[in-house]
């Protein structure tokens, strides 16, 4: 009887730990998805609506800031959506595959199609980030 009670307690602890891990992964999934979607909305404002053109600011400093914001939001979108997708697949018990990363890469790239400079620098950033992801993964 005592042995049975002890095994039951161990199982309960494992279950609690699993529940905690899944809660943590799920919370991370929700947060990264929300941030990713927020980056996407900002990307619409700066890359499609071109909010700086509407404000009609004729200044090379603001042009540079505009360029940096355009590139940053797309890179952040890719960054957070990659983490989100990783968490999602983790909760399903599968690892992310290269096709999914490539799909996110493509979704990021098409946001930059309206400006050649944004496109160029974003591609560079995405390539560096993807290489980093590839290199840090377990063999």
């Amino acid at each position: 009887m005592p042995k049975f009670q002890k095994e039951q307690g161990k199982e309960s602890k494992i279950r609690e730990k699993q529940s905690f891990n899944e809660d943590f992964a799920f919370r991370s999934l929700i947060i990264t998805t929300i941030v990713g979607v927020a980056c996407f909305i900002i990307s619409i404002l700066v890359n499609v609506v071109e909010i700086y053109s509407i404000l009609n600011i004729q200044n090379s400093f603001f042009d540079l800031i505009d360029l940096i914001i355009r590139i940053s939001v797309v890179l952040l979108f890719f960054f957070f959506m990659t983490i989100s997708l990783g968490n999602y697949k983790d909760l399903l018990g599968k690892p992310s595959n290269w096709q999914e990363i490539a799909f996110l890469f493509f979704l990021s790239i098409i946001q930059t199609m309206r400006n050649i400079y944004v496109f160029g620098f974003t591609v560079l950033g995405l390539v560096i980030f993807t290489c980093y992801l590839y290199l840090i993964q377990d063999a």
């Binding site: 279950r15 699993q18 529940s19 899944e22 799920f26 999934l29 929700i30 998805t33 990713g36 979607v37 996407f40 990307s43 619409i44 890359n47 499609v48 999602y88 909760l91 399903l92 979704l107 098409i110 946001q111 199609m113 309206r114």
Partner: protein, 243 residues
């Protein structure tokens, strides 16, 4: 002693061509190639008047040769602008002037003036003078004056309102500033019809790109919506599994 003491019949009617804005520096470059060229005849002095415009400014250049002995160190060219096609002295309300303070050294100033009761007032009410002007001398006998005059409504009440599609009289006046207003020696009147602004050219590639980006962003939005829905379904599944 009036500045606008007399005027001559406006013989030439000029319809300016549309062109890119030139640099107002007194140098006649290729930028003036598309201008409307007219020979003008001050009394005994022949010159070339070039006129062109863009959507916001009228550009005028005056080039003439004059024997060095007849030049004045403080000579000026003023463009008096009428508020209509009338060249009566009382109808001239605005003036843009480029005057030399030292012709030999090439020192000049652009003055955005206005005409009040036939008199030229030097200080326009707007501190940030509207328009621009410059002059440059070549070989001491050829001189080029260039002006940029804003079109449409300006903030300055003393500026002539050059409305699109209307015709206005412009009096080009040459003289010696130090002897002003008696130093005005020559003037010539032309009529210039301000052309209606060109509509911006439709860039087909830009439209296609815009439509493509709308479609692309809609697809990404749809993907994110489906993805969010899947997350909600997953949350429910996990909730059921963990009891």
């Amino acid at each position: 002693m009036f500045f606008v003491t007399y005027s001559y019949g406006a013989n030439e009617e000029i319809t300016p061509e549309f062109a890119d804005a030139p640099d107002i520096d007194g140098a006649l470059g290729d930028e003036w190639d598309f201008s409307n060229k007219t020979d003008i005849h001050f009394e005994g002095l022949n010159g070339i008047l070039r006129v062109m415009q863009d959507n916001t400014n009228l550009y005028i250049s005056i080039e003439f040769d004059l024997d060095p002995s007849a030049r004045n160190e403080t000579e000026f060219i003023g463009i008096l602008i009428s508020n209509s096609s009338s060249n009566s002295p009382e109808d001239f309300v605005d003036a843009k002037v480029v005057r030399f303070s030292n012709l030999t050294e090439g020192n000049f100033a652009y003055l955005d003036c206005y005409v009040d009761n036939y008199n030229l007032k030097h200080n326009d009410t707007n501190l940030n003078s509207d328009g621009d002007g410059a002059a440059q001398m070549y070989d001491y006998d050829t001189i080029v004056y260039e002006f940029s005059i804003p079109l449409g409504n300006t903030d300055d009440i003393n500026d002539a309102f050059l409305d699109y599609g209307d015709k206005y009289a412009f009096n080009i006046t040459y003289g010696d500033w130090n002897l002003y207003p008696g130093g005005i020696t020559k003037s010539h009147c032309v009529l210039i019809t301000i052309q209606t602004p060109l509509l911006p050219a439709i860039d087909l590639a830009e439209i296609v790109l815009f439509i493509l980006s709308i479609v692309s962003f809609s697809c990404i939005g749809a993907f994110l919506a489906i993805y969010s829905y899947k997350i909600i379904v997953l949350k429910k599944k996990i909730g059921r599994l963990l009891g």
